[in-house]
Structure formats: C-alpha cells, structure tokens
Symmetry: C2
Subunit: 368 residues, 2 copies
DNA sequence: CATTCTCATGTAATCGATTACATTAATAAT
DNA sequence: ATTATTAATGTAATCGATTACATGAGAATG
C-alpha cells in the first residue's frame, strides 16, 4: 500500500504469499544510483570507494534487504565458501568439540562447514573429488586416517590433494598437513602415572591395527614401559578398536589371563568405559582391584563411576588449528607450502580422577 | 603398467600435475557431437533422447570425466541440492544416529547435508534466512525446539517457513511439520516400570523449563503417577537441562531431601549419568539404594556401571523420517501440504537393565 | 596551459548449466 | 501428394555476481 516498496515486475502469477522477492545486485545498484560493479566492490573491496558512494551503497543494501547469491558468486569466483569435514564416526562424542572448534574458526571467515560420516560413504575419494570439481567445497578436514592410498592417489591426480588437512588422525605415507595431539607423550604420561602409583604389570588395549593413533599410543606405552623396566608380556597388549564394544571384549580377554595386570591403559575413553563396565560386571572393583586409564577425556569421563583417569586432548584446539591450517592452504597468506607439512602438535595432559589407585598389595615406596 | 587403465585424453600441455581440467558441458557436447541442451537432457531427462544419442552422450561424459558444476546448476535452477541440520549441541552423542539417518535418506536423493550447531549461532534465524535466500540450502531439519518465535516469524516473512521440519523437538505454537518420539508414552513406561518394581516415591529430573520434551515427559510422568495413585511431592520434581552437569546438581538436591524418593526418572540418559555418578560419590548404591531410569538409550547406556534402564528412542528412524518429510516439503509429490503438518510419531520402548531394582524394604507384592 | 597520472566508477564479458522456444525430420492423417 | 502432428534436437537467453578493461574527472607536473 505504501508508495515505494514494491518491485512488482516479476509477480509470477500465483498471487499468493510466495513473495519470491529476488533482490539482485542490479536492484541495489539501481537504488543506490551506481553500477553493479560498484556494489560488488562495496562488498569485497570497500576501500576502493569514496566514503560517500560506499555509504549510499550500504544504505541501498539495507533498504532492499539484499543478500549475495552464493551460487552466482561461486560460479564466477570458483570459490565455494565451504569446507567439508570427514568424520569416521559421528556417533563418537569425541568429535563434537573438534567440530565446534572448526566451526568457530571457519565461521570467522564466512565459511560453511559440511560434515560427512565416512561410515556412510562407500567411496570417500570419489565423493570428495566430486565435491571439489563440483566447486561445492574449497577444502577438506579429514578426521579419518584410514583413507586408503588409492583414494589419496585420486586426490593427487585431480589436483586437490593440497586442499586437505588431517586432524587427530593422519596418513603417514603421504606428506599432507596435519594437526594432532602428542599421542606418544600421552601414552607415556599414562604409564608413568600408573608406575608412580606402584603398578608394574600394566596392560594396554590398543586401537584398530592399521590406525596411526594406535601405533603412536602403543609406541609411547612400550617406550615408557621399557624405560621404567616394567615386566613385559604379550597378552597384556590387547587389540581393540576405540569402541565401547571392544572395551568389553578386551575385559573378557584380561579376565581370562592367569597372570593378570594390575592396571590397564586404554587407547580411548570409550574403550575404558566398555572395559570397566565389563570388569565390574564380573565382580572386579575399579580401582581397588584394577586401575584403568583412558585417552581423550571426553565429557563423560568425569561422570563415569568411577570417574575416569585419562589423557586429555584439547579437542577444541585441534579443531581451530586444523581450520587455520586449512585456511592457509586454501587462501595462502603467510606460510610457504613446505611449512604447512610439518605436523602441528597439540599438547596433552594427564587428568587424574578415581579409576586409578595403588595396586592392592603393593609397597608404594620403591623408586618414586 | 597394465594396458587399459589410462585416460590420457586431455593432457593440456602443461605437463605438470596442476591439471585444472575444466570439463564443461560444452566439451562433452563437442565430443558427443550434440548440443549442450542434449547433454543436459541426458542427465536430467534421459527418456527424452534416442537411445543412440543418449549412449553417445554418456560415452562422452565418461571419456571426458565430466562432472556437473553444482554452482552453475544451482544458479540456474534455484535449487541447492543441500539441506541444513540445526543441532542444539553436537557434543551430545544423542544426535549422531539421527544425523546418520538423515544422511542415509538424503544421500539417496543426491542431497548434501550441512550441519550447524545452534550454540555457535548467535542468530539462527538470520543465519537460516540468509542461507535460504542465498540459495545455499533447499530446506532445514531443526533438532532444536527452542527457536524463539521472532525467528520463526522471520521465516514466514521470507517465505521459507514451509521448508522446515522439526525432528525430536518441535515448536508448539507454529504449525510446522515434525517427527518426534512418543515422549509421553515413554515417560509413562518409565513410571510404570518403577511402580511394578514396587516403587512408590518416584522423583523426576526434568529438562529445561521451556522445552517441549521437558513438558511432554513431565506430563507423561505426572499422568502415570496420578493413574497409579502414587504419592506427590513438589520436591520430587527437579529442574534439569538434559546435561550431565544438571544430573549432578539434581543429585545434590535429592540428597538433601528429608523424604527421599526411592527411584528417579531422568529426562535424558546424560542426566541419569550425572545423577548416578554423584549419588555413588555420596555413597548411595544404584539400584540397591535408589533406582534410576533414563531417556534416549544412547549407546553408552549399556556400558555404564550400572547399565542404565532407559527409554529407547529410535534415533535412526527419527532421522530418516525427518528427511523423508523434508523431501516432501521441498519436492512435493504424494502428500498434500495439510497432511504434512500432522506430527509423525515414532514409538519408544522400555529397555530394562541394571539401574532399576525393587526398593530396599518394600513388599513387592501389592497390586501388580 | 598542456600533459600525464591517479582515482573512482562504469561497461560488458564471463563463469556453466538449464530451458523456453525454434527448427528439423519423421510419421500420421486427409 | 499435402498438410498436420509428433518427436528429437538445436539456439540462445538466462540465472546473479565478479572483474578486466575503458572512461572521465581532477590533481600533479612541466
């Protein structure tokens, strides 16, 4: 009813409420009395414009309720303004904080975050290349180190390999940028803690065999065990896969041993929960009968019974740093390509709670 | 090394690896000896073409390694081929399975799934409208019922309100499509189970005050309590917010009561964990001293100590159904708009584990 | 005062796919 | 044989923003 609000031109018949008002950059230009180029500049390079024109453009933008059409921009600039995060398993609460960190950092740069679960992806490589060549994404943060070499090869072949960074996990073969916790040190801390409590017979439930984290944590564990000259037994290294269920079966294995460990260092908190749950179901008390240390420090660790002693990863930092690293790859500024390849390592901490205690009948003196 | 693996076609001179090969639809057309229109049709309406042309087009597509440029398509068709999921808190493992369900269903329709955490979003409404008008998304699945009315108003004003479906949570005020569990029934089942074990004094830790789930579950709880003529006490209804931490404080509140309940029905598994953790820390044994029931049945429920008796929601079904519903809104086929507004209700089950048992000194006979 | 240089802005081509409309060939109807 | 009809394909406009290049107005220089 008022005088100057309408742009009736394209009332596409239907008459109803479907006011598909399509404010284009041209409309803004018209209102502001400038060219579309000027409007575009006001948005991307405001410093090129007179303060006067700039103001009038922004006024027009506000007046019209204009929003950039991302599809058009993407088509022209070949930049999607979005990145994709590949998660091995969204069901694992471990990843949430990382995602939050990624979101936080990329949000500052007006980038959207797509998330895909590799479990749902028959062919992650195909999928990714597709998205890249589609200009649907500008980069990838991969939290899954188990991408087969063939898929990585696809990336290289299609020239998108340099827009991928790994976080948490990584692939040793290929020199790709990554952000990771100090897993070896974490494992050392765990074993040292148990040793200081007086434990000597320490078991370890690993992750899946081909996983880089499995390797790093096992290695740290073995190193520290050797350094402290602790007894060694093959059966004390139990294969797991980071899952609750594998904690359960590890517990079963351990319960069957004739020479039982007095403490177990688990490769993840989930494993520790599965383990403790099963141990308790079989009448063992944690930590009285057996101590348990986890890895990750997910939120629940503090709320388990008993509260879990574990190695804290700074998941949020992992997320933000991965995002920053990716931004460097996508829109390089400071770093040189070579510098990006050195893994960014985030420190870890031991968080002592209630799942660890001195072993039952042990003289807690010793070396100290 | 083998003979037939190579596709050397477009070695565009440069020799190096940066093969920015930009296969456009025009290139395919050229190779196939047809027009771009025909190629486009081969992709979207293959039945319009002769088998012969169709074949040659697909051959050309394969030969060139062509991939549709989504940005261009989106620009032209105004369809993004992507939907956005609004999650209240990615850290809550409850949501993962729902996301998996959504992914599964939408993947079948070549739709990407964007995920955003409302916690990181200052202004969800603004954000969404932006994405819609940007043609970055075709629809939204919202898992967060706490969107303020003002934001919903924005949706309506911008004509995007009919491309939103709620899942799990919903907004009562606005008639928007939704998929939800039978929360009232779930609460009834929980109370009934406790009653059958012999409990009479039953407490309830609710969700946050303004939440629809809080309301539904509390209502179901109150209904069943009334039906069974159980004693009523205001202090037995404790305000929580679905979080671990709120379970902890609820426990503190309950520990201070002079007339203590013998069982607690928690509005979420997380609350139950927080509660049990704190009760045990204060020397109470679950279920011997007090029984606890949760709601959700997240994976960890079976691995807690004691394993949690809880109400199972079929999260995956919630996800797939929400996705299907949204697809109906976005590309309507069978249903009429009005039919979409009736909430889709997914059934729930009681899963009995070890956190519930008859109360300490109770005659387990009674009514039955 | 003429000339060169800057700076702000405009003009128009372009990104790649879709699709209304036009054209042609093939078939059916008169 | 001629016209009407249908089916298959082509032509070219279009979606909306960006940006190389062009233009023109002042400022600076000689």
């Amino acid at each position: 009813m008022s005088t100057r609000n309408v742009r009736k031109d394209k009332t596409n018949g239907s008459g109803t409420s479907v006011l598909q008002k399509n404010v284009r950059i041209r409309d803004v230009a018209e209102v502001a009395g400038v060219s579309t180029a000027t409007v575009s500049r006001a948005l991307s390079n405001p410093e090129l414009l007179t303060e006067a024109t700039r103001d009038s453009v922004f006024a027009a933008i506000r007046a019209t309720g204009y929003r950039v059409n991302k599809a058009a921009r993407t088509l022209r600039t070949r930049q999607a303004g979005a990145i994709l995060v590949l998660v091995p398993n969204l069901g694992n609460p471990f990843f949430s904080q990382i995602l939050a960190g990624i979101n936080e950092r990329l949000g500052e740069h007006d980038m959207s975050v797509l998330i895909a679960d590799t479990a749902n992806l028959a062919t992650a490589g195909e999928f990714l290349v597709d998205h890249f060549l589609n200009s649907q994404i500008d980069g990838v943060i991969c939290l899954d180190g188990s991408l087969p070499e063939t898929e990585l090869e696809q990336f290289r072949k299609n020239g998108v390999a340099d827009k991928i960074v790994f976080a948490c996990e990584w692939v040793h073969s290929a020199g790709l940028p990554s952000v990771r916790s100090d897993n070896v040190e974490g494992a050392r801390l765990a074993v040292r803690h148990l040793h200081e409590l007086g434990h000597r017979k320490i078991a370890h439930v690993t992750g899946p065999g081909d996983n880089v984290l499995t390797h790093a944590r096992r290695q740290g564990m073995l190193e520290e065990r050797a350094r402290l000259q602790l007894p060694v037994r093959d059966e004390w290294i139990v294969r797991g896969d980071f899952s609750l269920e594998s904690g359960r079966s590890a517990a079963m294995r351990i319960l069957e041993l004739d020479e039982k460990p007095t403490a177990v260092f688990c490769a993840s908190d989930q494993v520790a929960f599965g383990l403790m749950s099963t141990l308790e179901a079989h009448g063992l008390i944690v930590p009285d009968d057996i101590s348990v240390v986890g890895f990750d420090d997910i939120e629940l660790a503090d709320f388990y019974v008993p509260a879990l002693t574990t190695i804290r990863q700074d998941r949020r930092a992992l997320g933000t740093k991965a995002a920053s690293l990716l931004l460097e790859c996508v829109e390089p500024k400071t770093t040189r390509p070579a510098d990006r390849l050195k893994p960014v390592v985030v420190g870890v901490d031991l968080v002592v709670r209630e799942s660890t205690a001195p072993p039952k009948n042990a003289s807690v003196s010793a070396t100290g």
